[in-house]
């Protein structure tokens, strides 16, 4: 490998600092303005959720923040403009989970997770590779199929293997694009608990979510996106108001307090006429 042993392991940022800062970020894709002047910060020790309807620009924003797309405006990571980072160095500061994890050759799940350690090759942190990979696989419950080719796994299993790879990268900033989309109830909760525990250990987590209940339960702040803008950003209990969500999603929504816990429930308002009725048998 070309990476030399001289690379120092970056110091962990202090909890509560603005690790990722974006101001006035705009993106045009195929002649369409997908993001308009978005400003956002992700702090260490916090989980920030990006929510909003399809096509609101959540994934585009995440890609722009990850420096995957040409964008205008300022994006800094750890106080340094994204464009100034060397690719290899940036990989030791932020990890990105793609929305659709893919793999072109039949690597085993364990190999895929171990790829997350690549940025640390030739640093001191490489000594912990095996332990970190084992821990990430344990956390995402993928140890059981460690030696199976990635291509033979189910959608949910692939998603968890990809998440384990991202966790194994051990960066102070995690950017997850719909990590819960392909997962069952148990694993959705598991992923969100993992996000919380990473935040608790001082990382900044940015996560795109569709499930507003999960966002309300697990995230410190949510940014509600609509038509390429941030419509509202703040603590879930301040932001998740029935009127705002109903307007943004163009779907009537109720926001209720949980009967027993200090938590919000976000439920779409449904017409009674459409719910399944008992069939009248004529007797």
């Amino acid at each position: 490998m070309r990476w030399r042993r001289s690379h120092a392991v970056p110091a962990r940022p202090v909890t509560g600092t603005d690790f990722l800062e974006a101001s006035g970020v705009s993106v045009r894709l195929g002649g369409r303005q997908v993001l308009r002047e978005v400003s956002l910060t992700a702090r260490t020790g916090e989980v920030l959720a990006l929510v909003g309807p399809n096509g609101a620009g959540k994934s585009t924003l995440l890609a722009a923040l990850a420096a995957d797309l040409p964008s205008t405006g300022d994006i800094t990571i750890a106080g340094r403009p994204v464009g100034d980072w060397a690719v290899a160095e940036l990989a030791r500061h932020r990890a990105v989970l793609p929305q659709h994890p893919a793999l072109s050759f039949p690597f085993h799940a364990a190999d895929v997770v171990a790829m997350g350690r690549a940025p640390w090759a030739a640093t001191k942190a490489a000594d912990e590779d095996l332990a970190v990979v084992a821990e990430a696989m344990e956390l995402c419950e993928v140890t059981a199929f460690a030696e199976r080719p990635f291509g033979t796994l189910s959608g949910g299993e692939r998603a968890r293997v990809a998440l384990a790879r991202v966790l194994a990268q051990r960066t102070p900033l995690l950017m997850l694009d719909e990590p819960t989309a392909a997962l069952d109830l148990r694993h959705q909760e598991l992923v969100m608990r993992v996000c919380r525990s990473r935040a608790a250990s001082g990382d900044a987590v940015v996560v795109v979510l569709h499930d507003l209940g999960l966002a309300a339960a697990y995230c410190d702040r949510v940014a509600v996106m609509n038509d390429g803008r941030v419509a509202a950003c703040g603590r879930p209990r301040d932001v998740f108001a029935a009127e705002l969500l109903s307007e943004v999603y163009r779907q009537p929504v109720d926001v209720l307090p949980h009967p027993s816990r200090d938590e919000l429930l976000v439920v779409p308002r449904r017409s009674e006429a459409l719910s399944p009725q008992p069939i009248w048998t004529g007797r």
Partner: protein, 363 residues
């Protein structure tokens, strides 16, 4: 420490090929292929119209190295050292170059079906070589054909790369489609050159186009050696980054790989390897396609084994194929390129179906 051992599945869910088994297979394959290469090379040196006993082969080799042995009579020495050995060495170099180029190409495109021929290097190199033959160019003496093939191959790759670039990056589909267009153009150019060539040149072109090592000489070996060596030595340095590229361009970049630069370097290496091979031996297909494919099935897709393994495997395959081409229909000689395509393509069809069935698709 228990934490530091690699996570293993419990014994009850038996998996087909654990990593340990794969690594073991890789080591075994390397040993087997190396041993096979030595044996086939030795057999290739003794078999032919002029039979040389094995004992004489060793005696002569030992004598030349200066470890005893003895000198053979003049004819035997000449057959061995001026005809057979350059041919074996050339087969090793060309085979290793093609195998390695195939593995790199498949890694760069993330597609197990990619091939050096796909992006037009082979046909590009062919244009230069055919041009040199048909126009009777001799400015570099013996090396003229090789040199022209190499130069036109490199120009082709550069053109394909520039044409398929858009918005600061190269999309694989565009690259492959551009390769197809370039292949068509090169085919037309070769046709034109052949149409305007005289009879003597035409025979030379046809012979060369079928792919052959029959005209192997030490100067030809020397002509390929630098290109092949540079390519073969540079390629393994990119193995880990190619592994990461299997995740896709963006994830690879997120893991610290400078994808654009990786691609430029590897395409140059592929051009170097393929153009060098094609220029001296003509178009020899399927080595670069089948060898990496087989090795991937046997020992997993990790490029740290696949790249050097494909070079070794390619050398073994080509030395064996050349032995068959030389001896199967003696005293006549089968064209090597025809032989590899004849054996390679049905085999490849079978591989395709088998692998697809086993993996349930390519992704």
């Amino acid at each position: 420490m228990a934490v530091l051992t690699r996570p293993r599945p419990s014994a009850k869910d038996g998996s087909p090929a654990p990593a340990r088994v794969r690594r073991g297979r890789a080591a075994l394959l390397t040993l087997g292929m190396a041993a096979g290469l030595v044996v086939v090379a030795a057999v290739s040196a003794v078999l032919g119209a002029y039979e040389i006993p094995f004992g004489d082969l060793f005696a002569s080799v030992l004598h030349r190295v200066g470890l005893g042995g003895r000198e053979l009579d003049r004819v035997a020495e000449s057959v061995l050292w001026d005809i057979r050995f350059p041919r074996v060495v050339l087969a090793v170099l060309v085979g290793a170059s093609l195998g390695c180029a195939g593995a790199l190409m498949q890694g760069v495109f993330g597609n197990p079906l990619a091939d050096p021929g796909v992006i037009g290097v082979s046909s590009g190199a062919a244009v230069g070589a055919v041009g040199a033959i048909s126009l009777g160019l001799t400015f570099f003496g013996n090396w003229t054909v090789a040199f022209c093939g190499f130069v036109s191959g490199l120009i082709t790759v550069a053109a394909v790369y520039l044409l398929s670039r858009g918005g600061g990056r190269v999309e694989v589909v565009t690259l492959i489609l551009t390769g197809i267009a370039v292949n068509a153009f090169a085919g037309a150019a070769i046709g034109l050159l052949m149409y305007s060539a005289d009879n003597g040149a035409l025979t030379g072109i046809t012979f060369w186009q079928l792919g052959s090592l029959a005209s192997a000489t030490w100067p030809k070996v020397l002509a390929v050696l630098p290109c092949a060596l540079i390519g073969l030595l540079v390629a393994p340095r990119y193995a880990r980054r190619l592994d990461l590229l299997a995740l896709g361009e963006r994830p690879a970049r997120h893991l610290g790989v400078n994808v654009e630069r990786l691609r430029v370097v590897l395409i140059l290496v592929v051009a170097l390897l393929t153009a060098a091979a094609v220029a001296v031996s003509g178009v020899i297909g399927f080595v670069g396609l089948v060898v990496p494919h087989l090795l991937r099935m046997a020992a997993g897709p990790g490029h740290r084994f696949l790249i050097p393994g494909s070079a070794l495997g390619g050398a073994l395959v080509l030395v064996s194929a050349d032995l068959v081409a030389r001896t199967a229909a003696a005293p006549a000689e089968l064209p090597l390129g025809v032989l590899t395509a004849l054996l390679g393509s049905p085999f490849f069809f079978w591989l395709l179906r088998a692998t697809r069935r086993k993996q349930g698709g390519w992704a």
